[in-house]
Symmetry: C2
């Protein structure tokens, strides 16, 4: 079904094809539909979309990220858009509004019923990047002196006002969060039990907290949802695991991009214009190339040495490459350990000491092999230069690669910004200096 | 509380400290306890652990990954271990058993009550890496002709036999999966409604499916859980979002490691011995260094040219570095797009064509700047060589970086294995050949 649906969508869609397409679309499962809509150009996605029942269309739409959603809205007819937008949850709506141009955002908001518009506006009142924008305001906290039976009945009757029924915040008389109860506990407890007896201590985030941190916190404790509170601990919303996943996925895409030395694309790769891709990459590439001019200058200083012993030039890419790889290995390990909470900022000296030893050992192994190989081909002297350089470069590169992410985090920068390419460039220049210093003293030039 | 608790744990714990520590531990929140236990050496973690109430201890333990769990079990007294192990869910137990030595695994299994042991053994019957090992067998499907009221009552009474109450599989008379109902729908429906009327079509995975793929599928559809079936569509278990998160986190850590050119560490960074870290890195570093010998050979071929115009050596790191960075940018984008389903294997030519254009444009911009800068310092001829090389190298590097992940995936390899360092090394050698060919023809040597 999937392959056939895709094949149909690669050619132009004629009115005659609609019945067949419609049949294919209804026989395709939701996960397959999601991947089709993400993959084909958005005008074709819109065709599939109109063929789905309202419920299925909404389920597919909600699973798309905000970038894909905005593209699709663009391609849909106005009345389709209005219906879809009204049926979205307020938090998904806020995320989507960040993606569309301001004029369209206004139009979309004006089409909403009063109550829905108010809820969306509340979310938009939090700063960009705050979890307040991604939470759902749809939650009715229950007072702590109520019984489990009352709570179940309330959930049943006011179900439409809840984003999730499975984690319900419990409040005191001033709407301050005092605990949470799961629907599971409510259902299995004796109906006369007072909530204070079955609630668990709340794990909550503040609405102005950074969205990525808050989302990771929810995923770390492996709960389905957690309450969001204001500065006075009053309940203002709920963060569910599906929204947390979306936030983390977007953040990971950004991190991966920075790690590869470019700005993240806001749209799916294949539908981003070539010039936008160039724009996302050129600045970093320029910065890196300009820093690499440092290596030209280092080499210029040693040009006389190079001229005397031109064989030294042969090893330049090997040595800088090995330094860069060693530095990247260390940086990747430490960045990941920071993200998982295995390493903290104040461990900087422990990390430095570990990486220096690791780098030295790696350098010693590579140096021994390099010594034998280079001695055989280029003579004993060159062998010694290569070996000593590998030991020094690996020790230096591992140490720098290891502490860079920690320093980045300490000064409040994203560790991914001090990304692998930067570490490579830095190690290149430092490694070349070491190389020629060692060569000059060993070869006596 | 957190800082004080950590400070106390860095020094030796004396019997007199226990009351104070105990007070600190009970005042610390679950997320903070998790990060403390993940961060301190496991013998100290075990101290904190014994001070917690059984429920809090279990909640912390369940949030740790299997590596941390195995370390902690090692450090705990035998009776603590037996209690913890028995209280774990069968799926978490199966994951943990993969981490501890076989003799300990046997001992742990023998301590389990019969019924629990059977459930764990069922999971261990699936091959390593299959989702059957990570699912929970604790689910009682409900027959499709039952009513919503009956279902709610069944969930209430047999609650202990369910991993989750929030998504319940619905079966026909042969235990085949026909749909799922959410507890939310059960609770809000009229109690006399037949399940077939309110159930939704199931999204399920097969128990022998790859764990990472299955977990990502659940996270992609943003549901709380999904049924796991056997080859005949019979319900054998349930995969919950928290277990899916654990699988994906472990897979991401592995990918990040491969991307940085080393094997993943199985233990937290700071508690892994230095020699194990060296072992995880040395093989890849050696392979990369040996491939970099290619660059030495390429340069050897052009040694005469280098000897004539030694200034050409100055630009080697700049040119290879820029090529590597361009290739990595493309590889990172395409790897991520593959993971998100934005790009599929059969898009290889579309990607190649895009990246060739992107690379050419990037090379043209850098080449123009490089021409001006190099001409001013080293003369017009060198300027032309640098400009032409940048254009060719960037076009080649972006094309290779873009298609490498797709080729890796097509031949069944992990795209992260054809990692950035490999692309850099490959681009280095190819770029050097281009550089010297261009230099020879422009400079007429």
């Amino acid at each position: 079904m999937l392959a056939e649906l895709e094949r149909q969508l690669t050619k132009e869609v004629k009115p005659d094809d609609v019945p067949h397409l419609s049949e294919l679309a209804s026989a395709t499962s939701i996960p397959d539909l999601i991947s089709v809509v993400e993959h084909v150009p958005s005008d074709r996605g819109a065709v599939v979309f109109r063929l789905l029942s309202k419920d299925r269309a909404l389920e597919v739409f909600e699973a798309l990220d905000a970038g894909h959603q905005a593209d699709l809205l663009d391609a849909l007819r106005d009345d389709d858009v209005a219906i879809l937008f009204t049926d979205l949850d307020p938090d998904d709506r806020a995320a989507l509004l960040d993606e569309v141009p301001a004029t369209i955002a206004d139009k979309l908001l004006r089409g909403l019923p009063r109550h829905e518009r108010d809820m969306t506006a509340t979310l938009l009142g939090y700063p960009r990047g705050a979890i307040g924008r991604r939470m759902s305001p749809e939650v009715v906290p229950i007072r702590q002196h109520r019984t489990a039976g009352y709570a179940v009945e309330l959930l049943r009757v006011r179900e439409a006002e809840y984003e999730t029924l499975y984690m319900v915040p419990v409040m005191d008389d001033t709407r301050r969060l005092v605990g949470v109860v799961s629907l599971r506990d409510l259902l299995t407890a004796d109906p006369h039990t007072i909530l204070t007896e079955i609630m668990s201590p709340p794990i909550s985030v503040v609405a102005t907290d950074d969205e990525e941190e808050a989302a990771r916190q929810l995923l770390a404790v492996k709960r389905i949802a957690m309450p969001v509170v204001d500065a006075e601990q009053r309940i203002v919303g709920v963060l569910t695991v599906d929204d947390a996943l979306e936030v983390v996925e977007a953040a990971d895409t950004e991190d991966a991009a920075r790690h590869g030395g470019h700005e993240p694309l806001r749209r799916p790769y294949l539908s981003t214009p070539v010039l936008k891709v160039v724009k996302a990459r050129i600045v970093w590439l320029l910065v890196l190339a300009v820093s690499a001019v440092l290596t030209v200058q280092v080499l210029e200083v040693f040009e006389a040495t190079l001229d005397q012993v031109v064989v030294l030039a042969l090893f330049i890419p090997l040595l800088t490459g090995t330094g860069g790889n060693t530095g990247n290995q260390a940086a990747t390990t430490v960045t990941r350990a920071l993200a998982l909470g295995d390493v903290w900022s104040r461990d900087v000296f422990a990390v430095l000491w570990r990486e220096a030893r690791v780098g030295f050992t790696l350098g010693a192994v590579l140096g021994a092999i390099g010594f034998v190989a280079a001695s055989l081909v280029y003579g004993y002297d060159i062998g010694i230069v290569i070996a000593l350089t590998l030991v020094s470069v690996c020790t230096m590169a591992a140490s720098i690669g290891g502490v860079m992410p920690i320093i980045a985090k300490a000064v409040g920068a994203d560790p991914a910004v001090f990304s692998n390419p930067f570490i490579s460039t830095f190690c290149d220049a430092t490694g070349l200096i070491m190389y020629f210093m060692i060569a000059k003293s060993v070869l006596g030039i």
